[in-house]
């Protein structure tokens, strides 16, 4: 038998006695045996399947097959519930644009008339506990009889018991008028009670005297904005809320007081109503109106 055959058979642990003898006669037999013995020292580190299987086990049982679909269902339910909870506890918000008015009914059938460029929000799911309405802008409230009812604005809180009142809160302008019942206005931790026909006005942080109002409802509900001794800049701001126009002024004292009203339906008439009493002139362009001294 050839030398190569013998070595291959030796490698395969497949020598019979006769072949073993022949293999031992090979000239490089000693070298092969020496190499073979030395190679045994390169043995891989001990690996005991019994031991390592135990360390595998905890991880293995964690990923039970039935758990996966169950986790999926749980995740879907959790997401569903949180969306449900989130949406039901979310505040309801109503926003009006410039030159737009709207009327909404609250869960207790109180009504809110929302003037232009205003936002009102309330929470339907908590309505039973607290009747709270957040307001930015101007709104007229007809409140159904019941527990405390609060209108929260940036400038103060208006609290009432079954009544009709108007709240206006815009940049540094805060006005509350009571039309029926009794209204308490809390501003800077001071509470003022308003009887029907009385108005509470704070302009640029200054409290103005309560004015007597004879109307049954605010003028704006009838398509008119009316003012009594209000600085011109607040009149202009209201004008911009009612007409989608930008008003630019030139050499005009914006703190001049204006008493009067303007309509919401006729731009020219409205402009005249404001400018003529103050001896001003106006000129219209695309999207803006320039006011200046006559």
């Amino acid at each position: 038998m050839k030398r190569e055959e013998l070595i291959k058979k030796w490698l395969d642990h497949n020598l019979n006695t006769q072949e073993q003898n022949a293999f031992e006669q090979l000239e490089d037999y000693n070298e092969l045996i020496k190499l073979d013995a030395a190679l045994k020292d390169f043995k891989a580190p001990e690996f005991s399947s019994d031991q390592t299987y135990k360390t595998l086990k905890p991880e293995k049982t964690n990923s039970k097959q039935w758990l996966k679909p169950l986790l999926r269902i749980a995740a879907i339910l959790a997401i569903g519930f949180s969306i449900y909870y989130y949406t039901t506890t979310l505040d309801t918000t109503v926003v009006t644009d410039i030159a737009q008015q709207t009327s909404i009914e609250l869960p207790d059938h109180s009504t809110v008339d929302l003037n232009a460029n205003s936002t009102v929000s309330f929470n339907e799911s908590h309505w039973g506990e607290t009747r709270e309405v957040k307001l930015q802008g101007e709104a007229f409230f007809k409140v159904a009889k019941g527990q405390k009812f609060d209108v929260i604005t940036a400038d103060g809180i208006v609290s009432v018991l079954g009544t009709q009142f108007n709240v206006k809160q815009r940049d540094s302008y805060f006005e509350v008028t009571c039309y029926e019942g009794l209204v308490a206005v809390t501003h800077n931790n001071k509470t003022t009670k308003l009887k029907p026909g009385h108005t509470f006005v704070i302009i640029d942080g200054k409290l103005l005297a309560n004015e007597k109002e004879n109307a049954v409802q605010p003028q704006w509900l009838h398509g008119e904005s009316s003012f009594t001794s209000v600085p011109l800049k607040h009149v202009i701001a209201e004008f911009e809320s009612q007409y989608n126009q930008t008003i630019i002024t030139e050499n005009i004292d914006l703190s001049r007081l204006f008493t009067g009203s303007f309509t919401h339906n006729n731009l020219d008439l409205a402009l005249k109503s404001v400018t003529i009493p103050l001896n001003l002139s106006y000129s219209k362009s695309e999207k803006s109106i320039l006011l200046k001294r006559e």
Binding site: H13, A38, D41, F42, A44, P45, L56, Q65
Partner: protein, 177 residues
Amino acid sequence: MGLFKTMNKPLQDNICESLLFERLYKKHAKNLHDFLYYKFGDQLNPEDKVQEAFIKLWQNCSKVAPNKAKSYLFTTANNLMLNAYAHQKVVLKYGQKPQKSSTNETPQFVLEEKEYHQKIQTALSKLTEAQRVAFLMNRVEGKRFKEIAELLDISVKGVEKRIYGALKKLREDIDEL
């Protein structure tokens, strides 16, 4: 008899059955470990890769047929290794046997033996991965050609070629060194 057969069969067919999984583990884990060690050395922790491969097998137990489990494990573990492995030179450690406290060997003999081991170590690192795995599975783990052929999914002739080629190359390199 026939009844038992049909009753037992569905259980046998699924790796998700933990008894079968354990049997597969006991059968393949050591071979897989040795395969990874002789191919890549110990830098990348072959034992971890064995465990990872079996965890993957368990996670996919319903998708892998039992007769494909072995090649699934070897392929998975090999890929896990390759992901981390940047073709460094593989240096296998030797001489983990306990030191003899007293020895009648001469210092010269001890030195020569050490040099001889270092030569083998260098020569082993020069073998191809395929040669080294087959050769050491055969020489160190005492496996026959047929067993290695089954393990590596290649022919017995192919194994013989690798092992004999490895022996030849190893002896040439040792003589040169």
